[in-house]
């Protein structure tokens, strides 16, 4: 209709610029319009009509005359168009497996073969590409979409690079937009814009999933200690099953680790479910996270994902320094003794000049109390500072405590006590900087008065304070805990710190009790009490609250501490066409970046695959080494890095990752219209539904890429102009009749 009324499609108007083909000056047109206005004013001055009606009739008359005058100047559109048969049109067809859903590929094939391909070929040479794992030019499209991945970005970049040798006029992209190649970023858009290639995207498939439950993501820590409680956060989406119940299950092989019945929310809504589960014994585990398929579900393959968890059988060492004998120490020790994954060494000042040491590995170890050297102190993964004044430690020791978290990446926990925190003068020490609270600069903040504990919102969500699996039961259990024997005012939490629990000594009184924050490479926590021992003594002997609390707190403190070599893969799962990016962070004996290390990585894969690669120093990142490696076949891979400096081995570390082929194609399968619209809009093209592609060939001509010519297309003869003239005259006649002014 638009084209009938205005001679050309809307795109011509959008891309063209208005010109007057008569060649007469536009100023003369303006003068004419003014002159006519003046003439009409003079002619209408003696009419006996009311003023408003007079003005209305004059306006209609003036519009009529103005339109006639405008048409005399012969308005036209100046547009840049492709020269026929001299520009190549690249047709990119998505041949990934997601196109098999809802017969998307068949629709695309039919569109191309039955209409679009023929129309394009009448005016342009056409090059056909398939976008799958890697871009490829083809003469014929495959019968079925079988690519394991959708990498639209790689295909578009490939065409943009070809444009330097070939006049590419435009790209026609037939796809569902479910890109998972990760190459459709700003760089690709910029390459297309530089080449001025518009992308016309034809989107296939439903824009919203129907009758489907999908696990969009599952997040959990990659490395944990054996028997650790870990939190899995699954992101899900559903459509068509609102209000029904689905079962979410986490399995390790045949063993069910966690399970929950989930009431499904509104259609299209994305929501999260968190499950806490026990990591079990040491070893690399493939956890299967699945939602039981519902009856009539269209795509049950996106109901499950797999994640790797490296359960490491190491035993971090924790050093606990206590300034005087306290019950907290006894009960803390007992709680930790129950945990086979924690190794606690403690020193307590029994008298002014004597220490009592427990858990030492040799009679000489810690003979002089808290170590004063990197070698001795950094051998531990975590440090607990009990009821001791800052001034008891030398400046060297105080700095070392700070460095322990900052440089070594260890965890440091400060306990409350009559000589601890603010009462111990820590606010005036170099250590104050690392604390998650601003300690009050006064004595008397420690009080031997009972205080109950309440979790903050962050604490209720944190696994650190999860005594019960179920969050509601957990909150109730915390409320039911016996009161603490004492508490200490900590001052305000610092920005960036997280208050997990508060001590409540009375009505309207509440003080931060457990506050955590990251400091440098490490973690720091303040537990402003020395009285959690009452949780043990004031509850049934079988109650495990106290033990679980301390084990989890110390596992958090010490479990994630890295050693001299930290190996990681940038992702847990790679698909067939991708190279895994393996990075190692290497630190020397003093935990400073090791810039002259040699890092070898041994890789083991399915079917006896073995390989050894050397990592190269990463540019601009001292102590970081990296390499890309392509996994030869699907399955789980184990990489072990060994870092050496000269003949000395600095350390070693392992990481696991998987190659999975095709599974991504069953996730986020709805048409990503927003992506396609953005792509088209940013490159100067347009988004089409398959049924709206009638004008596509005409619009493709309007391109500034390739070999082009400037055309002037008249619009003065458009039917719309004449209809407007006739309409104005008819309107004037009707008005005059009504007002009796004929």
């Amino acid at each position: 209709m638009f084209e009938f009324l205005f001679n050309y499609p809307l795109a011509v108007y959008q891309k063209g610029t208005f010109v007057f083909s008569s060649g007469w000056p536009a100023a003369a047109l303006a003068a004419g319009l003014l002159a006519m206005a003046a003439l009409l004013a003079w002619l209408f001055r003696r009419r006996r009509l009311p003023v408003k009606r007079t003005l209305a009739l004059a306006a209609i008359e003036w519009s009529l005359l103005a339109l006639l005058l405008l048409l005399l100047w012969r308005p036209a559109l100046s547009v840049t168009v492709l020269k026929p048969q001299q520009n190549v049109i690249a047709v990119v067809v998505d041949t990934s497996r997601s196109m098999a859903l809802e017969q998307r590929y068949r629709q695309a094939l039919a569109l191309y073969e039955e209409r679009l391909g023929g129309d394009l070929k009448k005016r342009f040479p056409v090059r056909l590409y398939q976008a799958g794992e890697a871009p490829a030019r083809v003469d014929r499209l495959p019968a079925e979409p079988a690519a394991q991945r959708t990498d639209l970005g790689a295909a578009l970049r490939h065409i943009a690079s070809e444009s330097s040798l070939l006049p590419v006029g435009a790209v026609v992209l037939l796809t569902d937009g479910a890109d998972n190649g990760g190459n459709l970023g700003p760089e690709t858009i910029e390459a297309l814009r530089r080449a001025r290639i518009p992308v016309h995207a034809v989107g296939f498939g439903s824009e919203r999933i129907t009758q489907d439950i999908e696990i969009l993501d599952a997040d959990l820590p990659a490395r944990v200690l054996p028997s650790s409680r870990l939190l899995l956060t699954a992101t899900l989406r559903q459509s068509g099953f609102r209000g029904r119940t689905a079962r979410l299950t986490v399995r390790d092989g045949d063993r069910v680790l966690a399970q929950r019945d989930v009431r499904l929310p509104a259609d299209g809504e994305t929501w999260r479910e968190t499950l806490s589960l026990n990591a079990g014994g040491a070893g690399v585990k493939t956890l299967d996270i699945a939602v039981q398929p519902m009856e009539g579900e269209t795509n049950p393959r996106n109901n499950r994902v797999e994640r790797l968890v490296d359960v490491r059988g190491r035993k971090p060492r924790i050093l606990y320094f206590e300034g005087e004998p306290r019950w907290e120490m006894k009960f803390l020790r007992r709680a930790v003794e129950e945990d086979p994954q924690l190794d606690l060494t403690s020193i307590v000042r029994t008298t002014e000049n004597r220490f009592y040491r427990q858990g030492i590995r040799s009679p000489q170890e810690l003979e002089r109390g808290l170590p004063s050297t990197v070698g001795e102190l950094f051998a531990f993964q975590a440090l607990i500072i009990g009821n001791v004044e800052a001034g008891y430690f030398t400046p060297v020791q105080q700095n070392l405590i700070r460095e322990f978290a900052d440089r070594r990446g260890g965890g440091v926990l400060f306990l409350g006590g009559r000589a601890a925190l603010g009462d111990g003068g820590w606010q005036r020490s170099p250590v104050a900087e690392m604390l998650p609270v601003s300690l009050p600069d006064r004595k008397g903040a420690f009080r031997r008065q009972p205080a109950t504990v309440e979790l903050t919102r962050a604490g209720a969500e944190s696994l650190l304070l999860r005594i019960e699996e179920d969050p509601e039961k957990n909150a109730a259990r915390w409320k039911a805990l016996p009161y603490l024997a004492d508490y200490q005012e900590t001052g305000q939490p610092k920005p960036g710190a997280t208050v997990l629990a508060e001590a409540i000594p009375g009505v309207r009184l509440r003080h931060p009790l457990l506050v955590t924050q990251n400091y440098g490479r490490g973690r720091v926590a303040v537990l402003a009490t020395g009285g959690t021992w009452r949780w043990q003594m004031a509850q049934d002997a079988r109650d495990q609250s106290h033990e679980i609390f301390w084990q989890q707190l110390l596992r958090w403190l010490a479990g994630a501490v890295e050693e001299h070599v930290t190996l990681l893969a940038t992702r847990q799962t790679y698909s067939g066409g991708e190279a895994a990016v393996i990075r190692a962070e290497v630190r020397d004996r003093n935990y400073l970046p090791a810039t002259s290390a040699v890092v070898s990585v041994h890789l083991l894969g399915p079917g006896g695959i073995r390989d050894t690669i050397e990592l190269a120093p990463a540019r601009g990142e001292p102590g970081v080494y990296e390499a890309r490696w392509r996994a030869p076949r699907p399955g789980a891979y184990l990489a072990e890095a060994i870092a050496r400096e000269g003949l000395e081995e600095l350390g070693r570390d392992t990481v696991t990752f998987r190659r999975e082929d095709g599974s991504e194609e069953f996730f986020r399968t709805e048409q990503d219209r927003r992506l396609l619209e953005r792509l088209a809009q940013q490159t100067g093209g347009r988004y089409y539904r398959p049924s709206e592609t009638g004008d596509l060939v005409k619009e493709i001509e309007l391109s500034e890429a390739g070999i082009t010519v400037r055309e002037t297309r008249p619009v003065w003869n458009a039917p719309a102009a004449f209809l407007l003239l006739a309409g104005l005259k008819t309107f004037e006649w009707l008005v005059r009749r009504r007002w009796g002014a004929v």
Binding site: E324, P325, W327, K330, F331, T350, T351, M537
Partner: protein, 267 residues
């Protein structure tokens, strides 16, 4: 056949002891007079980390000479307070200068993880109290027993204890156990006598000739009940300030109790 003979021997020894005790006790009380000052010491209102808790228990209904002995109040409160002065002076423990009294009826005992019991050779714990004592130990409490002697008192001690602690045996503590080395190295220990033994040519009472440092250990092997048998630490603390009581015994009694408390606070 053995048991009647043993009991008869013990009875003879006890009768002899009682005779000697009655004859000499008047003199002893003159040398070791009660001060009669039971008012709370300064600082007793302060809230502290450590409290010396003394166990109040029901006595066995005995007759004859046994009815004269045995009470939770023996040496109370001077022994406790005098010991606490030493504890504060010799260690960094933030201790209250006044003892607290607890029993196995209410739940107050669970606020005091270290409990001292004197003369448990005469206690008679009902089942419920024995069970509560076991719960106290299972939660992490420590019981320090003192001042009971000889076969008869041992039998009475274990009769009550076994109501709740029969699942594991009472064992002698080895010399290299941490409890003898937490602060003081107590490899060479002597029998600490009560003042009834004045002038201390003899240090034992009844047939409790040999001092025994015994223990009931929990499932992890930690000492949960420290049993000082055939000795009297309480008298040693109580009369440490008396020139008639030998310093060497007082010194060991202090050291032993300090080690036991430090052990209780670290294990």
């Amino acid at each position: 056949m053995r048991r009647p003979v043993g009991v008869l021997s013990a009875a003879l020894v006890l009768a002899g002891s009682l005779f000697a005790f009655q004859r000499g006790y008047g003199n002893i009380r003159r040398l070791f007079p009660d001060t009669g000052n039971d008012s709370p010491p300064p600082g007793s209102q302060e809230k502290t980390e450590f409290y010396f808790a003394r166990l109040r228990y029901p006595n066995i209904r005995a007759s004859g000479i046994w009815a004269m002995r045995g009470s939770w109040t023996v040496d109370y409160p001077k022994a406790d307070r005098q010991f606490l002065q030493g504890l504060v002076r010799l260690t960094r423990i933030h201790a209250n200068p006044m003892e607290r009294v607890v029993d196995l009826i209410g739940d107050e005992i669970f606020n005091y993880p270290f409990v001292y019991v004197v003369e448990p050779g005469h206690w008679d714990l009902p089942d419920s109290q024995a069970r509560k004592l076991r719960e106290f130990i299972d939660r992490g409490g420590f019981l320090f027993t003192d001042d009971f002697h000889g076969t008869f008192e041992w039998e009475l001690f274990t009769a009550s204890l076994n109501k709740a602690f029969a699942d594991r045996p009472i064992v002698d503590i080895e010399d290299d156990d941490p409890i003898f080395h937490v602060l003081y190295d107590l490899d060479h220990r002597m029998q600490v006598p009560g003042i009834v033994n004045y002038p201390f040519q003899r240090t034992f009472e009844y047939d409790g000739i040999e001092p025994k440092w015994r223990a009931w250990r929990d499932a992890k092997g930690r000492i949960a009940i420290g049993i000082c048998f055939n000795m009297d630490q309480g008298d040693a603390w109580e009369w440490a300030d008396n020139p008639h009581y030998p310093e060497k015994y007082a010194s060991q009694a202090y050291r032993t109790a300090i080690n036991y408390i430090l052990y209780a606070m670290t294990h």
